[in-house]
């Protein structure tokens, strides 16, 4: 009995030790991706739904710490930044203006970059064979049914701003209303910043504790990422129509090119807006790590702890990093902005709509608006946000959405990577080095716990 227990334990240990190793982006490309594709080709299509359900269930677990993380990070950082006693008016204005300006520039840049690459790559300009493949794929799928009994009751149309205004922060958090949680946290953070420190300290300590636990929890559940990818990719490969992927190759390449271009620009931004002294302690470029981590998990939010840890260790102001990283990751959704611009150009090309300079400007603007409207949504749920733009251009939305959804299991990865690296750029531009006093007095336990996991593969660079 006593002899078997250690051996069993070591087996479990070995099994669980494999998962963090598989999280390395290098292993994602060399092992997980090929294995998932082969598995997807081998499994019968009837089992694809089971694989997909398992993957989605694990994604739900990975997303589970996101809401408390967002809520606490935003609330603490806003409270610190706007605290009258701790910061001067100039400091508050400097951060706010830098953040807003860098966010706006990043949105504009993302949109224009995607627009230029779309014009170069011309997604939606299809060969006759590609049109035939798409036509076959659409048979029966896009038919319009009139007079059938609606399965779901139609929702009452409300003003879009109602989706942002918080009602009850706990109810919003429990119902996954991320946008309402963010706005509620900002308001609560502002309220905390107006109060005396001794009154708010217990709450700040509690929030900090929740935040630290959420980060730690994210590390634990991130171990499931390889299994998530295997399930989702195998399920998608088993059912995805290879013809469609080939037919939409230009579109797919364009999305990947945008992600790579965003990486290049973010590297430049990181180099330009950090001093050599700040970079001295880094062995690798953290932008690469964020890109690969987001790409390999399909979730930009998983890059948040890495962004925070990196910029904090470089001596950046903790509160500013916390606020800029969480807000830019959650609100700007730059991956969705670039993706939506490409998707709109794809739809316009598909339906032979002339691309005049004015229309291109409209595409860029609508790409930004619809991309931001994806805030709070994840994965495939973000795709239908372009329907508003398609309706504006009077381009048939259902067939375009059907095509985009068909290849989304692949494109969700570069989309997340684009969001991750451009959010890092915003954070690098908008945050500044903290004062020597605060450098010598770390106010939370976050760093300690993150350092505890610093040997983890999250910080590994492929």
């Amino acid at each position: 009995m006593t002899a078997t227990t250690p051996s069993e334990k070591s087996i479990y240990q070995r099994i669980f030790a494999i998962l963090p190793l598989l999280r390395k982006p290098r292993n994602f490309f060399f092992y997980i991706l090929p294995f998932s594709i082969i598995l997807g080709r081998l499994i019968p299509p009837s089992t694809a739904a089971t694989f997909n359900d398992a993957g989605v269930a694990m994604v739900q677990i990975i997303a589970f710490p996101a809401i408390p993380l967002v809520l606490t990070a935003v609330m603490i950082s806003i409270a610190n930044i706007f605290s009258v006693s701790e910061r001067s008016r100039e400091d508050r204005f400097r951060f706010s203006s830098r953040f807003v300006v860098s966010l706006s520039i990043a949105l504009l840049f993302g949109s224009v970059l995607a627009l230029l690459l779309s014009l170069y790559q011309a997604p939606g300009v299809l060969s006759p064979d590609a049109k035939l493949s798409i036509g076959r794929f659409m048979l029966d799928v896009t038919d319009i049914r009139v007079g059938e009994i609606p399965i779901v009751e139609s929702t009452v149309n409300s003003l879009w701003i109602a989706n942002i205004i918080p009602s009850n922060i706990f109810a919003d958090a429990s119902s996954g209303q991320t946008l309402k949680v963010i706005s509620g946290s900002i308001l609560a953070g502002l309220a905390i910043s107006r109060l005396k420190r001794d009154l708010t300290q217990p709450l700040i300590t509690l929030l900090r504790s929740v935040n630290t636990i959420s980060v730690q929890l994210l590390y634990i559940v991130l171990n499931l990422a390889p299994l998530v990818l295997i399930c989702l990719i195998a399920g998608a490969v088993s059912t995805i129509n290879a013809e469609i992927v080939v037919a939409l190759l230009n579109f797919t390449i364009c999305v990947f090119l945008t992600a790579v271009a965003s990486l290049g620009v973010s590297r430049l931004v990181f180099r330009r807006f950090t001093s050599s002294r700040e970079r001295a302690g880094l062995n690798v470029n953290p932008v690469d790590s964020i890109f690969l981590l987001s790409l390999s998990t399909g979730s930009s939010m998983t890059a948040y702890p890495l962004m925070f840890q990196t910029l904090k260790s470089m001596g950046r102001d903790e509160s500013e990093v916390e606020a800029s990283a969480s807000l830019s990751l959650l609100i700007a959704r730059l991956g969705n902005v670039t993706y939506n611009v490409i998707a709109i150009i794809f739809a316009l090309n598909l339906y032979d709509v002339a691309l005049t300079p004015f229309r291109l400007a409209e595409v860029a603007a609508l790409g930004i608006v619809t991309g931001i409207s994806a805030a709070g949504l994840t994965g495939v749920a973000t795709v239908p946000t372009i329907a508003v733009a398609l309706l504006y251009f009077q381009v048939p939305a259902p067939p375009v959405l059907v095509l985009l959804l068909a290849i989304d299991p692949i494109l969700t990865l570069p989309r997340a990577a684009t969001t991750g690296v451009l959010a890092m750029s915003i954070s690098v531009i908008s945050s500044v080095r903290s004062s020597p006093a605060s450098d010598s007095n770390p106010s939370d336990t976050n760093l300690g716990l993150l350092a505890q996991s610093s040997d983890d593969s999250v910080f590994e660079v492929g």
Binding site: R136, D143, I144, V146, G147, L350, L391, Q394, P396
Partner: protein, 290 residues
């Protein structure tokens, strides 16, 4: 000798009864009796080719299709041959002629309209949803999401140009179901399809927005040329059903409707939906490789 002759006569009589029972046992139903006396069932068919319902086989020039098979099966049950008449110039004329006793039955995916009920008596055998094949750009221009429950009403009240076969039930149905639409009649279905999918302003006139018929005619258009799915979309009306019927005269209604009804239930398998037909005759609707 006399007894031998008597035996021979009795044997011959028995043989005649055994070999030609129907001819000898005349039906009490005068309508059926008349058919049996004539020796063939007179069936009126539309003058068009509508595979897989009724069409001339290009190779053999024989009439084929499920409507043809149904009529042939009926004749077999009556113990007579079948004779098809395709001389009517339109669907409506065909129904008028069966009402005037020119045929025993009229068949050929004939829809049900008030006007036709003035002329003849229907027995339903198919239940097909009404359908449009519409230009996607036109649907987008309506400004209502097709998933919106209001879409049906918006479409029905839209100002559009709807094409179909002239002097058919679709002309009547178009006016009833799309009150603000302009109906454009075409000589045949091929001309209507061409006017939508391969419009030529010189020969087809102003562009039409949609063509209108039942689901078994609309769906095959995109099955045959899947590339059309990009530009055109089938719209299926679950709440507007075309009750395709076999038409009888007044005499036929009295004398033949029970026989026909029994045949449809037992041999035909009840009233078939457009989905049943599309499934049963997949070979006709498979996408072409071209």
């Amino acid at each position: 000798m006399f007894r031998l002759l008597l035996r021979f006569l009795l044997t011959a009589l028995c043989a005649v009864f055994l070999l030609f029972p129907l001819q000898v046992c005349a039906a009490e139903n005068s309508f059926i009796d008349e058919i049996q006396q004539r020796g063939f069932l007179k069936v009126g068919l539309p003058p068009y080719n509508t595979p897989p319902a009724y069409y001339l086989d290009p190779g053999s020039d024989d009439l084929q299709g499920y409507d043809v098979d149904l009529a042939t099966g009926l004749a077999e049950k009556l113990g007579v041959d079948v004779q098809f008449d395709r001389s009517s110039t339109s669907f409506n004329e065909l129904v008028q002629r069966v009402g005037a006793d020119d045929f025993d039955i009229a068949i050929g995916k004939l829809g049900l309209t008030y006007k036709r009920l003035f002329d003849a008596f229907p027995i339903q055998y198919l239940s097909f949803r009404h359908a449009l094949l519409a230009d996607r750009s036109f649907i987008s221009s309506l400004g209502t999401d097709p998933d919106d429950p209001k879409f049906g009403d918006v479409l029905r009240n839209a100002k559009m140009r709807v094409g179909s076969i002239e002097n058919s039930t679709w002309e009547t149905e178009s006016r009833a179901n799309f009150p603000n639409a302009e109906f454009v009649g075409f000589k045949n279905w091929s001309a209507a399809k061409k006017a939508l999918t391969n419009h030529d302003a010189k020969s087809d006139g102003p562009k039409i927005d949609a063509i209108y018929r039942d689901a078994t005619e609309i769906k095959p258009i995109v099955y045959e040329k899947p590339v059309l799915s990009l530009k055109f979309v089938p719209i299926l009306f679950d709440d507007i059903i075309d009750r395709k019927s076999i038409y009888l005269s007044e005499k036929g209604k009295v004398g033949f409707s029970d026989f026909l009804d029994n045949y449809l239930k037992r041999e035909w398998g009840g009233i078939k939906s457009d989905k049943n037909i599309l499934d049963d005759f997949q070979a006709f609707y498979l996408p072409s490789d071209s």
